[in-house]
Amino acid sequence: MTTEPRIAAPEPTRDSQPYWGALARHELMFQRCADCGTWRHYPRPVCTHCFSLRSEWQRASGRGTLHSWTTIHHAYDSALRGETPYLIGIADMEESVRLACRLVPPDGMSPSIGLPLRVGFTDQAGGFTLPVLHPAGG
């Protein structure tokens, strides 16, 4: 699904480029310490667990559960005002990192803590792809 231009494209850094590159291929990848194996997000140079500067990118399961959420009724970005109200979900992913992005439940489904989720992808007109959370099986 491609939508009209509406929001500025993110500006990836050397640390985060693989994350955005994977999303563009409709893959969810997280950074992982090449020494101790600890996953991390958002992308950054150092492993907080063992302080290694060596990392690799690995495909994530795309599964998680809902940690918290908000329904946004007033969009700060005027380009998004036509989309309100929209839901934002914060998910505990299986890799023990969090993902924060749009949450799209089926009509009539209320969010709740622990709701099983799976990640999807929405291509944006600005030439980038955002993750989106769906209820698992939904």
Binding site: I90, R98, I113
Partner: protein
């Protein structure tokens, strides 16, 4: 942890100017300097006495602006404490350190703000700690503080049964204080139904859970405690002060526990430095960018247990005449959004016993907090000298 910093510094001057919600006639720099001059005069000092500066920054006035305008001949110390809304209280710590080390004697801490024309997004983007949100969350439509903080409030509600009516009590008690304050911009009476009828901004936060935008300038002077008795006002001593940072301070979404702030860590250190506990506090000025943030800090400060903030505020303790009057000036919710610089000036005014109709009778010891994106906290405990 005891510290020789306790009572080494005093807040000796305060100044506030131009609180309004119309387009400002003055620049942000003029507002900042106007407040600075009032604070210097209030202390009984001359501009040449100022030998340290901590302007709000970033993207606001720099030390060089202030030197140039006030003709400061020999500035010995300058710094920024870029903790967002925790900057003012963090600046108290920074100023006290510089004074205690003997680097300088009178530090001017100042802010000018054009909140009506320079909107929150532009201000936030000036903060380096906003970069993770800008790259990873803003594209999905979460960037304004209400949008970022709402999931913290939602999580608290789900875990502890906190309700929107609890948030309403904070908006109401703050408004009751504002109605006693001649500088407050929002003084119309408010009832719970008004709060509940206000539109939802980012669920669960309604319009009346949000601080107001406004213009103005606010400043205060931190001086050596030794000189304070010789100055114009009754001394107000810095008994304890600390800053605290949460894990994962770049993004709220990544924080292990969404229901605590850096305030919890700062509070423990500030109380230890002052040698007192929450039960010794006569009044508190608690950073109130949103009602929920007040509730969360009340818990983090130890006034009640985590999760009990709703019941605590519903008992009415925050109101005028309550056991713990909070935001006696009307706060960011009802007085003006001066990024918490007005919380410091108000606590000083209260401890001088110069707060007029808003005065908490006999106030001896008070607490002031700052809270900044994405969870940094600062706490100062001030004592009437």
């Amino acid at each position: 942890m005891s510290s020789t910093l306790s009572t080494a510094a005093a807040i000796t001057g305060i100044g506030e100017v131009g609180y309004s919600r119309s387009a400002p006639e003055q620049s942000e720099l003029a507002l900042e300097l106007g407040a600075a001059l009032l604070a210097i005069s209030d202390a009984g000092l001359q501009p040449r006495d100022i030998d340290g500066l901590i302007p709000f920054g970033p993207a606001g006035a720099c030390a060089e602006d202030i030197i140039t305008n006030l003709g400061l001949g020999d500035l010995k110390f300058s710094a920024h404490t870029p903790l967002g809304g925790a900057s003012a209280v963090a600046a108290i710590q920074c100023a006290a350190l510089a004074i205690h080390a003997g680097l300088c004697r009178h530090v001017l801490v100042s802010l000018g703000r054009n909140g009506m024309e320079r909107k929150i997004g532009a201000r936030l983007n000036a903060f380096p700690q906003f970069k993770a949100v800008r790259e990873f969350e803003q594209p999905s439509g979460m960037s304004a503080p209400a949008q970022l903080y709402a999931p913290m409030a939602r999580r608290h509600m789900e875990l502890f049964g906190t309700t929107s009516a609890d948030f309403a009590e904070i908006a109401l008690s703050t408004r009751l204080h504002a109605m006693r304050n001649p500088m407050a911009l929002m003084t119309a009476p408010m009832i719970v139904e008004d709060h509940q009828a206000s539109r939802v901004i980012a669920d669960p936060l309604r319009l009346f859970d949000c601080s107001i935008e406004s213009n103005g300038g606010a400043a205060f002077i931190v001086s050596t405690a030794q000189t304070a008795p010789d100055l114009a006002q009754h001394p107000v001593l810095v008994a304890g002060v600390a800053e605290g940072h949460p894990d994962e301070p770049l993004a709220i979404s990544q924080r292990a526990d969404l229901t605590t702030l850096g305030t919890a860590r700062a509070a423990e250190r500030a109380f230890a430095m002052a040698g007192i506990g929450p039960e010794d506090i006569d009044l508190a000025e608690i950073y109130d960018c949103f009602t929920y943030i007040v509730l969360c800090q009340i818990e983090d400060l130890g006034f009640c247990e985590k999760g009990e903030g709703g019941a605590f505020v519903q008992s009415g303790v925050l109101r005028p005449g309550g056991a713990l009057p909070v935001n006696t000036h009307g706060g960011l919710l009802s007085q003006a959004h001066m990024a918490g610089y007005n919380h410091v000036t108000e606590l000083v005014r209260q401890l001088r016993h110069a707060a007029g109709p808003a005065q908490v009778p006999g106030a001896q010891t008070g607490l002031v907090t700052g809270f900044g994106d994405m969870g940094d906290g600062a706490v100062a405990i001030l004592r009437r000298g």
